[in-house]
Each structure stands twice: as structure tokens, then as C-alpha cells.
Symmetry: D2
Subunit: 338 residues, 4 copies
Amino acid sequence: MSQLQVGVIGYGYWGPNLVRNFTACPTTHVRAVADRDPKRRAAVKGLYPTIDVVEDPSRILTDPAIDAVAIVTPLSTHFAFAKAALENGKHVLVEKPLAASSKECDELTQLARARGLTLMVDHTFVYTAAVQRIKAYVDAGELGRILYFDAVRINLGLFQPDSNVIWDLSPHDLAILDYVLGFEPRWVAALGACHYKDGVENMAYITVGFDESVVAHLHVNWVSPIKVRRIMIAGSKKMVVYDDTEPSEKIKLYDAGMGVSHLDREGAPSMLVEYRTGDVLAPHLDRTEALSRVTQSFEIACRTGIPPLTDGAAGSRVVRLIEAAQRSLQAQGSKVML
Amino acid sequence: MSQLQVGVIGYGYWGPNLVRNFTACPTTHVRAVADRDPKRRAAVKGLYPTIDVVEDPSRILTDPAIDAVAIVTPLSTHFAFAKAALENGKHVLVEKPLAASSKECDELTQLARARGLTLMVDHTFVYTAAVQRIKAYVDAGELGRILYFDAVRINLGLFQPDSNVIWDLSPHDLAILDYVLGFEPRWVAALGACHYKDGVENMAYITVGFDESVVAHLHVNWVSPIKVRRIMIAGSKKMVVYDDTEPSEKIKLYDAGMGVSHLDREGAPSMLVEYRTGDVLAPHLDRTEALSRVTQSFEIACRTGIPPLTDGAAGSRVVRLIEAAQRSLQAQGSKVML
Amino acid sequence: MSQLQVGVIGYGYWGPNLVRNFTACPTTHVRAVADRDPKRRAAVKGLYPTIDVVEDPSRILTDPAIDAVAIVTPLSTHFAFAKAALENGKHVLVEKPLAASSKECDELTQLARARGLTLMVDHTFVYTAAVQRIKAYVDAGELGRILYFDAVRINLGLFQPDSNVIWDLSPHDLAILDYVLGFEPRWVAALGACHYKDGVENMAYITVGFDESVVAHLHVNWVSPIKVRRIMIAGSKKMVVYDDTEPSEKIKLYDAGMGVSHLDREGAPSMLVEYRTGDVLAPHLDRTEALSRVTQSFEIACRTGIPPLTDGAAGSRVVRLIEAAQRSLQAQGSKVML
Amino acid sequence: MSQLQVGVIGYGYWGPNLVRNFTACPTTHVRAVADRDPKRRAAVKGLYPTIDVVEDPSRILTDPAIDAVAIVTPLSTHFAFAKAALENGKHVLVEKPLAASSKECDELTQLARARGLTLMVDHTFVYTAAVQRIKAYVDAGELGRILYFDAVRINLGLFQPDSNVIWDLSPHDLAILDYVLGFEPRWVAALGACHYKDGVENMAYITVGFDESVVAHLHVNWVSPIKVRRIMIAGSKKMVVYDDTEPSEKIKLYDAGMGVSHLDREGAPSMLVEYRTGDVLAPHLDRTEALSRVTQSFEIACRTGIPPLTDGAAGSRVVRLIEAAQRSLQAQGSKVML
């Protein structure tokens, strides 16, 4: 079997990780990397002397020897590069979020479908052993009826010059939410604050509503003294906490159920909820790097034509939630219906 | 100096703590305790054989030997008991929240003022060494300009039969917010979910807006697998994290500042935020029980006529925020202006 | 059924806990408490007006209405009080350690046996849900072959005026060791340091050797910046960690096994150990206060004549280890054979 | 200024880290790497195509263009390689421990001195920002009089085929002990257990005695369910805890002092120690990789002739402690005088 020939556009913060994993994956081969910055090109050459290094991305987009293009550039350029690649008959993997608007996402998705090409978005967290395990719990009904999803992703971080914290951090949690629960969202509400530059939120609270009182809430923040990366998913039977800062016990499954009875002391109609707490299980998780599953899944999708877990439609759904959050920000936090 | 003669109405969950602290305080004396439940009355008698134990609270409200009444009963009864006590010329300490509506709070406040009596609400956390220290940092300008206040108070807890989680848990954080920052709130937005009983939120997210992009956010939740009691207050110079579940290092002060510069790589107008992280200080905190400071402060206020830190007006401000949160819940999470 | 009539000698640090639990236990009744200090006697009277309070312990030791005596006094007095009580036909519960020498322990044990009376030592930790669970794991073979027992019990604490840290802290861990493993110790070695008073160790390391390479090690320390109370018990199949400072997940069971193979790269005889890490389970533990099980177990033992878990022999075994540790200290840390 | 030309012998577990840091260091240049394993040689070539890769280490030891040799091979080969390199006039950096016996260490030290060459042992932890900061505290007298040093370095780890856990893990802590306290050890005692292979300890407790009741204790263990890497250094004024598993607050300085008074309740001569707990400071630490300071320090030492912090004598002192621990193991844990 021949290897998938990959071209990578962009070798900034995340590009090196993708190149490393494509190189380590036995079924893929990085043929060329493009970056405008000569220092970044030199960095590629130093580590991978056999990879072609180019300044102009169009050399990758038009190279007939290249089967697939990975786009790891600033968000504003995702659409143009992805569109050109698809039009040139190449499979496409795009760094999250897929594009700067759901309209762009949809256009890319349709284009890929029309051409019979793979379009995949790199929602890396979906491929972690932790999220895969949580998904398995949810699908097996271990948690019971889902009650809520609460995500906190806060840190003291470098600001992005051209986007707010919602575009930067929330795609991670929204992609996990979309994948794990798979529910159709009904509305989004968001409130944020701009402490450093007008119009650029450095912190935000996002709420996503679903049917039957299921609610998801995200706290994303670039200006926090402590680093928290924690997702809680509560069900009527069990609850799972995913703490990504834990070195070994990233997931804990709490057998903590509540029973509801409806008597009060006077015998009048009332509600009395009793709680019991049970065992806590921290399942062993495979330590394979999630990104290696991304590159492998991409190759399989390209080869078989079967859409990957995080296809264009998934990318679209995440961007649609971000857009709704943005509209809610502008509408003073009011619910934006989907 | 004679002791303040105190009558306590209600000996349920919190009453025993108040009785114990009033008993330990050298300047106060518990003369009588009222409770409708004979088992609770027997519990008082077992521990404090010299305290008068009565079934009918009016015996306390009308006893001329009693100077002050502590009301530790369900919320719906606060107003009537407090009003009767004030009308009978007695100082009043009320368990949080002060009353079931801000209108009731205001009426009590005016009544107390008119009679020259002390009205105090037991916002216990305000009297902790932790909150006192945070207040000192804020007042001394240690944090710089305040950016945000973020509180998480979640647990797997027994439900209250007659109130939602906002009335139950948020008074703690709202009282701290009110005391520490002292800013005038502009609006409140709240979203919640009722997973066990219609109309009774078991979890809620509350946002409070202030001028100049200062925002406060509370997550209160009765159905959480893990117990979190953490408040973060971020300033432009330093940030403080108050983790009440920590046995010894409850407060940490982070010397984590960010500098903002406005150059981008191309020289175009942009924003580049750099961060640096400094030392972390966990100050030694006095371990005196906060409630002992409550009873002591109450006695001083009764004796001197100087309003306590948590007077009727403070109780009113907290209830006003809760009411606004309730209205926002009913308005689908829209901002409710104050 | 009539209640066991208990007299308590000593109302210092631990006595109040015993009185409270004997009072709460429906099958026991505290008839009298003795303490030389009038303030302590007043403290009893304040909380328990119906209990007889006496200065002279002999009034308890000779009171024909008293069935059992609890001795909660300084170590040097344990033997005399316990002996007198037994000679007067009373069951005896003694605060740990049982007595100041194993010879004293043995004499008390024989005396109790001769008189048909219960002699019990208050090794409280043995009665915790955590230790009971660990014992169940060990007895069921969950851990496989036992490899080692490692205990750290360190804190910044008040010094005992009349004993070193070994007599003060190690009885807890030695009692757990004795109960959980039940192995016969072969030797003891101990090293310590006296930083504040010559001849009074404020920190010590104690090693206890068993057959088949099983080793136990204790670190006890009064002068530590952090509080650690952790016991690890490693087996060939699983390992358990008991962290008593954890509020909820006190025990964790690690399914972490190692396989040994004996090949090296060159094919020469060698050893290659592979490890795998499995799930981690934090079992739900009953939160009943351990001391309530102590008082209940004592009453059952007195009533039935069946020796309690922590009988005189158990008290003797623990003191014998402490004595050996003391001899090793004096012998420069050399192994003292048992 | 010309770069120091470095040859590296051994490209197993640690070699790649040294090569990477020598390559990143502007004043050093890796000219050649030797490894017997063709796969490891290919790994070098893939990452660093310009480095000469050889099978035979003598090609490095005799290459006149090479100024300095880094030896990153199994312990048993350290001496022969280091001796040959020194005899050929090359500076030498050796992976810890310096050699398999103190006699070998001394011979290398003398040889280096005689030839005017640098001999350095890679005690990496000495170069961490954490240890540098602790050393600064100790030297400045912040801790007061040193009381003890307690190190725990335990983990579930792959066994070394040709050494026990003492040779594998304790050099880290002994090197820190030697550097930070700088006291002359008087005796060593050690006890261990071999659960997997006779004569190969997989866990050990080592005690090192100094003058004036200063004691150091190490727990090293390959078979632990949890990973602990913690050093406590207690002084009469302050105490420092170094927890290397903490992502950000690796060092905490406890202002926890104890005062001693000598009165007892009866007025008899006694000891009453009072404790007070003060602030806790977690100082900000530079995040530079310690190994980059190792390579830089090595280059400076080679250039200037000034001995590095971890010179041959330091390597000797550490190996001497290990040898004493080995002898104590064989003498049943008895103290071995130094």
C-alpha cells in the first residue's frame, strides 16, 4: 500500500505537531511544508531534511504528487486554502475551528462531498482516550439521563491578536459537547468582558440549551491565575469528571445517585431528595497521543471515503454555536435560538 | 457590664451553631430557645440545661428580659418574626437571606432604624478570616483594577423543600461579592435548570454586571459529583483565589500580571499581551470560627448602635440581586437592569 | 436490656470524645467522670449535668454501680488504674498505647483473663471504615502477596511533655499494621533525632521486618511543615493507598501489576520487569465516626465475653514493637530481633 | 569564539536529551555520536543529519577535532570511557552516577586534575531552578539551623536490569543533599527489600547522619502505586517543601516556627513546645530546562578551567554514600561510619 502524500500549510504553533505525527504514521508521508516565515522553514529543514520546504502555499495546493493538504494557518485563511485544495482534488484536514463562518464551513462541506473528497477538522480532544471513554459511558447509558455539561477552560495565556477567547478556546469544549452528547442545541446565550481591548473578549460564559432541561455551560478565560481544564457531565445515575490537568487519573466516574421522594414532614405535597454517594472509578486510559489518532483517522477516511468522526458537518456545528454565542454577546446575553 | 440577653427562634440545622457561639461569647447569654419540634427542644435541654426551652416563639418575642432575638427559621417566616421582634423593641439577627423579598428587607431596615434597634443578617462568610483578608487586599489596591469575580459553589446536597438553589446557596457568594467589591451592580442575568421538580432550579448560573466591564459570575449547584467552593477575584495587578475546601491554604495571592503592547509583526495596529507569573503567597489566616465573630459583632452593634458590617441594607442588597436573578430566569436569561 | 454503666477517668484531650460516644451509644451510659482539674470537671458538668463528676478516680474504681472503666489519662498511669479496675471486677477500656511496657500489658491481659473481664485498648483507627475495608481487601487476597507497608504520619504538632514521637504517633500505624497484615514481626530498627530536648525524639523512622521480604516502614514526625497521614500497602497484584487527609476518597485501590520476565537483549539470564497500570477505585466508605464503633464494640465484648478486635494481646503486640524501636534507637539503629 | 566540539557516547534514554541541549547551546557543537545499536544511530541521523554517527566509541575518544566527550552509557562502562577520554586530553561529562565505585571516581578526579581537564557529573537536579532557589534560602540562613532532609522518590517504574533502586534513584537526592546542605556525612544506614530478584533491591530506605542531630532520610522505590518526588528540608526557622510533580508551585516555603518553653503545669522542669504557622510562599521559578544549564556550565568549565558545581569530587561524594548504603544493606541495616 502506498503512503498518503501530505502537504502541510503553516508551521507555527500547531503545525510542528501535525508534521511530527504525519511523519510517525506509517501510512502517511509529509512531502512538503509551506510557511511564509524563513525561520519556520529553516526549523522544518533542520528536523526533517528530506521534506520539501516552500514559501508559497500554492506550490502545495497544485502539486500533483500531493494527495492531501493539512491547513494549520490563521483562521481567516482556512476557507481560501481549503477551497483551493478541494478544487484541486486534494483531501483536506483543517486546524480547528474549521472556518470563520458556518457559511464557509457549509460551502467546504458541500464542495468536498461533490468531489468525493475527505474534509476533516482537527478537533483533537475528540480523539483523546478520555473523551472516547466518556462517549462510551454515555452511549452505554452508564450515566442515565443526561442532566448537564459544565466545562471550565481557563488559564493565564497569551492573547490571540485576531480573535476573542470564544473563537480560541471554546471550539475544544463545543467539539467535545457535540461529539459526546450528540444532542441538537436549541439556543445559545453568552456574556463576556473585554478588559484589554474593546471588542475582544478575554473571558466569556457561554450557555447552550437543549431539550428536556439539558444545559451546557462553558467558562473560557485567558486571564485566570490558575489553570483549570475540567468538564463535568452529570446524569441521573452517574456523573463523570474529566480533569485534563491530572497527570494520571484524568477521568473519574462517580456512582452518585439521588433518589427523589415526595413527602414532607406535614404530609403536604413536597419534594425530598436524598443523596447517596458511591464508589469512584478512575479508569485506566491509553496514553497514545491524540494527534496520532487524528492523522491515522484522516488517512483512513481519505483511503476509504468513510467520513471521519470530525467531518465538515461537525466543524459546521461547532462554528454555528460560536456564531450564535457571538450574536448573543452583541444582544446583551439574550438567548439566540438555533 | 451586663450580658446581652438573647432568645433564639429555631433550633434546626444552623440554630445549634448560633446557640453554641452565643453561649461561648462572654458578652452574650442565651436565655431561651424556641422550636416547634419536641425532639429539637430536648436536644437544647440536653446540652444546655439552664436555657429556657419553649414551643411558642411569641414567648421569646414578648419576654421583657430578652434584649435581642436571633431568627434561625425557614425563610418564609423571617419577616414576620423579625418584624414582631423589632416592634417589641428587640435587636434582631436573622439567618441569611434576610427575608423573602427586598420589600420585606427594606421594611425591616426602616423599622429598625425608626426604633433605633440593630438589624443584622448572618452573612457568615463575610466574617471569615479569608474574606476579611481579601477585603484588605482589595481596599489596599493590591489587586489593581478589579476585572472579575468568579464563584463556584457546587456539591451533592440535600435539596431544600421550599426554595431553589439560588435562594439556598447564592446568598453566600453574593454577600461576599457585595462586601469585598462594594460596587453597585447594574444588571443580573441568570439561567438554570430544574431536573427534579418543575419550577425548582437545582443548578443555576448567575451573572452580575458592573460598570467598566467588571463582571461577576456564580455557579451554584445541588447536583455535582464534586464539592467545589472557590472564588477567584482577578485584578489588573494581582489575583486572589479563595478555596474554602483547602484545609490550610484557603487563600492564594497570585502576583501574575500581564503587560499589553500594541505592535504586531507587520507593524500594523494590533494588540500583543504578554504575561508573566510571579510568586504565590498563601497568607496565614486566623482560625477563629467565623460565627464567633458574628455573635460578637452583633453584641457590639446592639450595645453601641453602630451598624454591623452586614446590616439590613446589606441583606437588602443581596436579596435584590436574588430577585433580579429570579426575574431573569423567568425572562429566559435576559439581562435584568437594576 | 440494661445499659453498661461506664466510669471515665480523665477528661483532657481525648476523654470528651469518649464520653460523647458512650453517651450517644444506646447500650452504654456514662455514670461518672473523674478529673483532677476543676476546670475539666466543670466542662463535663456544663455539657452533661446528669453525670457524676468526681476528683478522685478511686471513687470510680470502687463504685459498685459501675461495670466498666475507661482510662483516658497520661500513659504512665494506665497500668495502675487498669489494674485497680480489673481487681475491682470492672471491664476496662484504655486509651492507646495500652501501657508503658509490654510487661505491664501482659500482666493486665492475664489479670483480665483470670477474672473473666474485658480488656480493650482504644486503637481507634482499627475501627475506621477505611481500615476495615483495607483489611477486607487483604483477607480476600485482592492485593496478592503482600510486599510492603509504608506509613507517613507527620505534622507540625504540640509536643508531648512526657514521651517521644514514637510513643505518641506510632501506635496508630503499628495497630493498623498489626490488624491488617497480622504477620509476626521478626525485627525492628529505628533511627530518630532530638532537635528540641535531649532524649526526646521529635522525629523517627521505624522499620519492621517480617518473613519473606515483607517490610514495614513508619515515618513519624512532630516537626513537619505539611500534614501527611498516608499508608501504602503494596501487593503483588494490587496496591492500596489510604490518605486520611482526603475528605472523601480516603482509600484508593490501584490495579497496578507488574509482570517479570527473564530475558535480556543478548539472551543472557537477566530480569526485565514490565509494568502496566490499571483502573483506580475509590470505594465508598461509611462515614460513621470510628469511635462510635469503639464504644459499641467495647459494650458487646463486655456483654458477651468475646474479645474485641483490639484486646489486651493486640495492645501488647503494639507496645512490644515500640519497645523494640526504643531499644534500636539506643543501639544506634541496629536491628532488634523479636 | 569557537564552539566546544563535543562527542557523545551512548544514545539510549538520556543521550537524546544531552544531544538536543548541546545542539541548542550556542557555545557547543555536537560533532559525533556513538552507539552500538544501528536503530539508535539511525535515530540520530534522522534528527541531526549533520552529526557524524559512529558505532565504535573509540572513534570519538581519539578524534583530535573533539574537545569534550559526554558519556551516557550504562554505569559499568563509565570509568573506562571517562578514563580513556581524559587520557586523550578531552574534557568529560558523565551521566550520573559518576562511576561504579568511589575508587573509580577518585581516580578519574585525580586524572582530570593532573591533566588540567574538566570532569563533570550530570547531577541534573542540582541545576534546576528549584534546587538553586533552595540552596539560596539555605545559604542566606532563611531556614535557620537545619534539622532534617527527607526525600521520597517513588514510582511504578521499569526495573534496571543491572543495578538496584539505590544506584538508580538515590543519586538524584544524594546530589541535592550534598549540594544544598554541604555538610559532611558521618554515617549511613540502609534497609531494603528484594521482591522480584534476589540481591536486587526494588525499594530501600536510606538514612544519612550528620553532626548535631541533623539527619537525612531517603525512600526510593520502583514499586509504588503513586508517583511521589518530594523533598522536605526543615530548619529551626522555616521549612521548604520541593514537590517536583507540581506543575507550577514546585517549591513552598513555610514560615512555621516553633518556640520552646520549659514550664509545666506543676512548675516542674519540663518542655512545652508551642507552634505557630505563618505564611506560605511559592516563589516564581524560571522554567529553563535544567539540562541546558548543565551543558552551558560544562562549556564554561571547559573554557575557564573553573570546576563546575558538580565536579569529580561531588560525583565521588555521592558514590561514597551509595557504597556506604550498600554496605549497610549487607550489614543488616547497621550504621556504616564514614
